[in-house]
Symmetry: C2
């Protein structure tokens, strides 16, 4: 079930300020429609929809159709997955740096 989204998607989604605000807003009020979110933010509804599409592609929110409305909910899993990816990358870099440092101090 763990839909592995490329981390770049998550970064691009999280890079935009309006998207981060939107994400917090969705986290506060789950199952909120696009129009409802548009009323809470100083942007048009279409802008909200576009941002929600990006967030959905990044796996950060999930959309669910209840009746006539599209309800959105936050999805923390992708956040933790990307965090784990970052941690492993940082660990790899750190290991390489340590190795270089050791080699510099004790050359062969």
């Amino acid at each position: 079930m763990t839909v592995t989204v490329p981390p770049e998607r998550v970064f691009t989604a999280l890079a935009d300020g309006t998207r981060r605000d939107l994400l917090v807003l969705v986290a506060d009020r789950p199952s909120s429609s696009a129009s409802a979110l548009a009323r809470a933010l100083p942007v048009s509804r279409q802008a909200i929809v576009k941002h929600l599409t990006v967030l959905s592609d990044a796996g950060l929110v999930s959309s669910e159709k209840t009746g006539r409305e599209m309800c959105f909910r936050v999805r923390p899993e992708q956040l933790t997955a990307t965090a784990a990816w970052m941690n492993s990358l940082a660990a790899a870099w750190d290991a390489r740096l340590q190795e270089l440092k050791a080699r510099a101090e004790h050359p062969e």
Copy 2:
């Protein structure tokens, strides 16, 4: 020591593809100059410099002047710091979701 850089900086830095490539390149070859990196990537030196500035603002690389050249090195700490930030945010959202779910099933 933990230079707390706003997470948005890190996200914007990591969102660009060229910047990610550059980051990997710097991680591979520590203490590499801007011109050396420009030769390894299909972009001009100035573009590299701009990207390195962004990465430096995000705390992902550190610059050090050795003689005439500016040498760059990766800096994994900021990566782990941002990962921790993401984890805490995900935990907060998850807690809220759990609470809502519990309230829905056992409505007081």
